[in-house]
């Protein structure tokens, strides 16, 4: 009897819960739809004003639209504000300046600065996102403070926002984040990359950091930002650094920077006693460097037993112009059955598929142009005849 009573009670509870959940689903959906409809109605009414401002057809119309947006009631602005802050992070030039003026005058920036000290990680992150959209060095201090926020995602948003600010002063604090491991390396890397050449001195200094991760990221960003001035320092990393990861990234960076002085160091990095991943990256970097003196070494590497090394050597030769291609062809002819020939054929096919396609398209486009010319001439014939 006790079990049956317990079961009856359980069944009753289950029924009540199922019904409650069902009602919650229906109620939640209805409420959401009403909310969305209200927001759409409000936004639809004021969005044309925003577009008129951004279109900037003439100064007077732009100023009028700005004035209208500044005079919007609180509810209408609340509906439009998310669109404006989203556009702020996407637009550039005078449109961005106009949006910045708008959010400053409407108090969005002030509120965002206040909220970075509030409870609620989502609010702080949203505020950091708005401040980052301003791309204004004046908010660097606020964003740097958020780099030590207790919530990891707020720190990430702040790091990204600092990258968008373009303020080179942010490079130091961002590198510190790496040392403290408080922000994911990929986020810091992207932010440092966005800071541009202003961050170069800080990055070169970071090449001497104790932390392997900091050196690896600094060397990679220097390569991605084509920091020619840092080429020597990057070469030193490739040759002298104790970290295998840093050396790999240094090899890749040297290829990207493209200074011929890196040739010797990269060739040495492909020596058999070096670790295979480093040799593979160095073989590819030799192709990126674009110096034909690398051809003999790359041809040797075609026969390397490590697949990645041989494959990258082939691709590098294919990118080195006629000399590289000649080496690949010679390899296929002289050592037809050898492993080098297989990689050479692979590389040649990769390069030639594109060339053949381009040639076909150019010839087809040429034929079509000729046909059109013929057509034009044919069309003119009666007129010419009438003359």
């Amino acid at each position: 009897v006790t079990t049956a009573a317990a079961l009856s009670l359980a069944l009753l509870s289950i029924t009540v819960l199922v019904l409650a959940l069902g009602l919650a689903i229906v109620g939640g959906r209805t409420a959401r739809r009403l909310r969305v409809a209200r927001r759409v109605k409000k936004t639809t009414a004021v969005r044309p004003i925003l577009l008129a401002m951004l279109a900037q057809e003439d100064q007077e119309a732009t100023q009028d639209a700005l004035a209208l947006l500044l005079a919007l009631d609180k509810r209408s602005w609340a509906a439009l504000e998310p669109t404006v802050t989203q556009l702020l992070g996407k637009l550039r030039g005078s449109s961005h300046d106009l949006l910045r003026t708008l959010v400053e005058l409407r108090g969005t920036v002030r509120r965002a600065r206040d909220r970075i000290y509030r409870l609620g990680a989502v609010r702080r992150a949203r505020s950091a996102e708005i401040l980052g959209g301003l791309e204004d060095p004046a908010v660097t201090g606020d964003l740097v403070r958020l780099l030590s926020d207790r919530d990891p995602e707020v720190r990430q948003v702040a790091a990204r926002a600092l990258g968008r600010s373009g303020d080179a002063r942010a490079a130091g604090p961002l590198l510190t984040c790496l040392a403290e491991k408080s922000v994911p390396p990929r986020v810091v890397s992207q932010a440092l990359l966005r800071l541009g050449s202003g961050a170069e001195p800080a990055l070169v200094r970071a090449l001497a950091a104790e932390d392997e991760m900091i050196r690896a990221i600094a060397v990679e960003i220097l390569g991605l930002s084509s920091a020619i001035g840092a080429s020597r320092a990057v070469q030193r990393c490739l040759v002298e650094d104790t970290s295998f990861e840093v050396r790999i990234r240094a090899a890749r960076s040297l290829g990207r920077v493209g200074m011929p002085s890196a040739l010797e160091a990269l060739i040495r990095a492909t020596d058999p006693e070096q670790p295979t991943p480093l040799r593979a990256v160095a073989a590819r970097a030799l192709g990126d460097l674009g110096h034909a003196s690398a051809v003999p070494r790359l041809r040797q590497l075609l026969r390397d037993p490590a697949h990645r090394v041989a494959s990258n050597a082939g691709r590098s030769l294919a990118s080195l112009g006629p000399k590289g291609e000649a080496a690949l062809v010679e390899e296929t002819l002289k050592h037809d059955q050898g492993p080098g020939a297989a990689h050479a054929r692979d590389a040649l096919s990769r390069a030639h598929v594109r060339e053949v396609w381009l040639a076909e398209h150019l010839s087809r486009a040429g034929e079509e142009a000729l046909d059109q010319d013929d057509g034009a001439e044919d069309a003119m014939h009666p007129a010419v005849a009438s003359l």
Partner: protein, 491 residues
């Protein structure tokens, strides 16, 4: 005869009555707990979505490139659509590798014609052992479209994936089904954990949902609807409960035991280190993930992470007939048994952390053995009724509680979906989903139990494992798309 049976049946029912009830309560409570954990995680995820930094990742040269692996066998119907969808994904650098596992239909010809493929002498390394020999490699004639077609001898899905891993040139490999359609930002989202925590994340998985009934345009799911048949409708609810919420919950607990083969992203070096996919396994995705856990733990690495990401969706065609569904469920359960047996050393072994102490024992108790107990109940209750050993009102009450609780879990899952992603926007679809959550308990559930036991049985009898073919209906593309396909439009 019936009188003779009565006494032992009464005795048996008396013995198992309470344990079975407790078992049912435990299994459904565990689902409910996972659902609640998932709800918390989803609420957090959705609130933070606006500043997830996906746009930045899309524009960044630092985003790790991905090789998308699509093993395909006789997928003539939907392959071109699927490949187009893959090529249209928003991701800075990726390649799509279609591995033709010795197809005998017109799949290869369709790909060759649609993408104007040309054969190239590509050297494919043997980083992981593949049984079927690679025969040919084809790439698009424009030399730019990042597509590779690897043709190999038939060897099964796992073997095809191994060939794909070998052909992959990027550090992350993403495995998808050939009939899957990914959301446009799916790769960006599923790779986010790798960017957030590059030193520890070794694999991530995305959500699988049923594409049946949805409208597809240009390889994108543009109108989400419930399927037209009840078999697929029930699977929508099932996938929601098990794939979306169950795995989000396990991921939150830091013990994700399975990333679905229909959409998983892994570090290539770790896949190579564990020897790739097991070609003898019928649950090669479960085997890979369990093997990765085992490998990392045995290497002494404890702070690695396998993460389930609730947002990116892989749309896949689910079986719409009982015959195909039966084959799928037998294979799944047999695969589950194979993997648990192969990695039995991990069970309740503290060396393997949460996965060994909680997740795998849970899978033994509540996934592997659940159909056995349920089927036992399905046999013993009618026998008890026949011999008059069962109190009918009590039995009905018992069944109502057991299945009512299961229904509650499904409705809770629907509620979480409604408050998070609310993908099914029509009221009719919502009604159908709730109806499916109810109907699942009348027939469907019992049939799946039976098929799962058949899978278990065939493993115990060591019957030859067969992957089987799932007939595809193709996607509901609408008239415009059909015209585009007939005209041979290339991407």
């Amino acid at each position: 005869m019936l009188d003779l049976l009565r006494e032992p049946v009464v005795w048996l029912l008396h013995i198992i009555d309470l344990p079975i009830l407790v078992y049912f309560l435990c299994i459904n409570t565990s689902y409910l707990v996972l659902t609640v954990l998932a709800a918390l995680e989803l609420a957090r995820h959705i609130r933070r979505l606006p500043f997830a930094g996906l746009e930045e990742a899309y524009a960044s040269p630092l985003t790790q490139p991905v090789s998308v692996l699509m093993p395909a066998y006789n997928e003539e119907v939907g392959i071109v659509e699927s490949v187009r969808a893959m090529l249209g994904l928003r991701y800075p650098e990726f390649e799509v590798i279609v591995v033709d596992d010795g197809s005998t239909d017109g799949m290869v010809a369709r790909l060759q014609a649609s993408f104007r493929l040309v054969q190239v002498p590509r050297v494919v390394p043997e980083d992981v052992a593949a049984r079927g020999r690679v025969l040919e490699v084809w790439i698009p004639g424009d030399g730019v479209t990042p597509l590779v077609l690897v043709r190999k001898e038939n060897g099964g899905r796992a073997d095809a994936l191994n060939a794909g891993v070998n052909a992959a040139q990027y550090p992350l490999v993403c495995m998808v089904d050939a009939d899957s359609l990914l959301d446009p930002d799916a790769l960006l989202t599923v790779s986010k954990p790798f960017a957030d925590d590059p030193l520890h994340v070794i694999g991530t998985g995305g959500v699988i949902r049923a594409v049946n009934g949805c409208r597809v345009r240009a390889g994108r799911v543009v109108d989400i609807r419930m399927p037209k048949d009840w078999v697929a409708r029930i699977q929508v609810v099932e996938y929601l409960r098990a794939f979306l919420l169950g795995r989000t919950g396990w991921s939150k607990l830091g013990a994700l035991p399975l990333i679905s083969g229909a959409f998983g992203l892994f570090r290539r070096d770790i896949v190579v280190a564990v020897g790739g996919f097991d070609p003898d396994s019928l649950g090669e995705d479960f085997e890979l993930v369990t093997h990765m856990h085992r490998h990392m733990r045995e290497k002494g690495v404890r702070d690695y992470r396998l993460v389930f990401v609730a947002e990116p969706v892989s749309w896949t065609e689910v079986p719409s007939t009982l015959k195909v569904l039966a084959r799928q469920r037998r294979r799944w359960h047999r695969g589950l048994m194979q993997v648990l047996w192969r990695h039995r050393v991990m069970l309740l072994n503290p060396r393997y952390g949460r996965i060994g102490l909680f997740a795998l024992p849970y899978y033994v108790l509540f996934e592997l053995l659940a159909p056995v107990l349920e089927l036992f109940g399905m046999f013993i209750v009618p026998i008890g009724l026949l011999v008059g050993a069962v109190n009918v009102p009590y039995a009905l009450l018992f069944l109502s509680v057991a299945y009512g609780y299961a229904m509650l879990v499904s409705v809770a899952a629907l509620a979480v979906e409604e408050f998070s992603f609310h993908r099914y926007s029509r009221w009719r679809d919502l009604g159908l989903a709730i109806a499916a959550a109810v109907l699942e308990n009348f027939g469907y559930r019992q049939l799946t139990c039976l098929w799962r036991i058949q899978g278990l049985w065939s493993h115990l009898l060591r019957k030859k494992a067969v992957w089987g073919v799932m007939p595809r209906a193709g996607f509901d593309t609408g008239p415009d798309e059909v015209l585009a396909t007939r005209a041979g439009t290339s991407p």
